[in-house]
Symmetry: C2
Subunit: 329 residues, 2 copies
């Protein structure tokens, strides 16, 4: 069903090499999110039906995993396993205390090579911590960042960070900008993405203390820095492929625009993938909203599968380790 695979992580241009739909084993946090596990069960069913090469490891209560199992065609059941505190459909090496926290167990499944990616709609801070501890961080990245993709009238824009790092300093925000550029290069196949700094006016000297300090740093960070952009540019997509901001401002803007688009329609006319990739940790981790619906979870699973298939984590980490770019240390 190609229509269902058209999420934000898929390339819009013909430039990207779309990877073969090889097997992708996604560990899903059944208890993450305000409406868990019901919406996660719904999302898991949608994901299994939409992509015949996706396998799911459902992490959490066996009853919820059993609901997914029961609702599936028998032929699809072989692609679902479960892992929970009361046991596991498929035995795994999971320390007892880890299985208490769904997202930590899901991360461990990736760390142990049992899964290719994690998807959670749970608390972002808990997911970031679990991922950083369980999968390690890239050498150049002290503070991870969440990259969201928003539809615009002229294409897509990467908004980064949307909630992982709420109080970045200048060095951390410079790394966030480089992470966003690398994401657009690898996932959206934009050769030299235009990176803009989100602020409140395009004249010199506008913005708060952090923003006023940034242009000098971004100009020598090895990315194509195109200058100051504003909230409207995140909607029109005209001035930048990547919009850089702190996790507080990015989260507020993302939740505002996503809700507006859900109520009155997206500017691109396409449904939006309400899921974000966590950058800076040693594995594929996708975060959905706390308020995610089943379709959002399914979009998050599809994004995670796509990122795994295109080797996004390795490719972005490689771009971040290139010597010509300034290291934050």
């Amino acid at each position: 069903m190609p229509g269902q695979r058209r999420h934000a992580g898929a390339p819009a241009t013909g430039q990207a090499t779309v990877p073969e739909p090889g097997t992708a084993r996604i560990a899903v946090d059944l208890l993450g999110g305000d409406h868990a596990p019901a919406v996660v069960v719904d999302g898991a069913l949608r994901a299994i039906r939409a992509d015949s090469a996706v396998q799911l490891i459902l992490v959490g209560p066996m009853e919820a995993a059993g609901e997914v199992f029961a609702a599936l065609d028998p032929a699809d059941r072989a692609r679902v396993s479960a892992l929970g505190s009361q046991g596991s459909f498929r035995p795994m090496r999971v320390p007892k205390n880890w299985a208490e926290s769904g997202v930590r167990a899901a991360v461990l499944a990736v760390a142990q090579g049992e899964a290719d990616a994690v998807v959670s709609a749970g608390n972002t801070g808990a997911t970031v911590t679990a991922a950083a501890l369980g999968l390690g961080r890239w050498p150049a990245v002290r503070r991870p960042a969440l990259a969201a993709v928003l539809p615009t009238a002229t294409g897509r824009v990467v908004l980064i960070d949307v909630g992982a790092t709420v109080d970045p300093d200048e060095q951390a925000l410079t790394v966030i900008a480089r992470l966003g550029a690398a994401y657009a290069t690898v996932v959206h196949a934009v050769g030299e993405p235009r990176v803009g700094l989100l602020t409140i006016g395009t004249e010199e000297g506008k913005g708060d203390r952090l923003r006023r300090a940034m242009p000098a740093l971004l100009e020598r960070s090895g990315i194509k820095y195109v200058g100051l952009v504003e909230g409207n540019d995140v909607v029109t997509g005209r001035r930048a492929d990547v919009v850089v901001t702190d996790g507080f401002t990015g989260n507020v803007l993302l939740k505002g625009l996503e809700t507006a688009y859900a109520l009155i329609g997206s500017p691109s006319g396409e449904p939006e993938a309400r899921a974000a990739m966590l950058l800076g940790v040693g594995g594929t981790v996708v975060v959905c909203h706390g308020a995610a619906a089943g379709t959002d979870l399914a979009a998050g699973i599809a994004l995670a599968a796509d990122l795994h298939r295109r080797g996004a984590v390795h490719a972005i980490a490689t771009l971040m380790s290139e010597p010509e770019v300034i290291d934050e240390q």
Copy 2:
């Protein structure tokens, strides 16, 4: 033309006493904004035609003021005067150097009693500075704030601050919250407005350093503080009548949502008044976007006239000086 008077400053409920449409003399900065003076000329014409009790003092180049004059019916011309560096249609006591800056001259017209309000789409910082210097600040308000009104599916929400104070501390943000509550009480006739703090999650401890410190202060500030709200609540309007944030985050969110609503439609189905009232200075000052169109300038003039007619500055300042609320000093 009552349809044209239905802007954000007008009451939606029947509770408010709508003032008689008495004369309102608005000083308009002809050179403020990215597309000045053309859009200001357009906005002035629309405002004059929409409200027969509005008078305009056009501040800036005589050629632009002349365009307004030439386009008007002779009967309407008596309601327009001009004030510029090359002279004035109507003599005013303006120091020579002040007339060089449109917004400073417009503020001076209010300070001298020649005008009732100022409208400018120029640089927000310059307008705030000119207003604070020329009109003075209220005793309890060290840092002014801009109150914007956004349409929602369930009514209107006041978003404050949207650009006057980009780096508030805890005390300044507490005052901003009180200003927002007073605005909703006076302008929207909401008896006890629900005030929410904009952050990135509704669990305790979410947000950046500033936000984590705020709930304790807001709970004892004399307003009806209803807790943490998120970007989506600014769109739905469900949880708060007033959403409080710093001028950086508020400006980014406002410009994002306004642009989204302009492209794909407002959640209320009504056109939006893209104009904000400056609170904390001793006169009626309305700020429009740098990117404002003629309709936005006309909405700003209508808002300024409405605020003047309902004595909003005096009423809000009185609420702010009430002894039971905590002073920021």
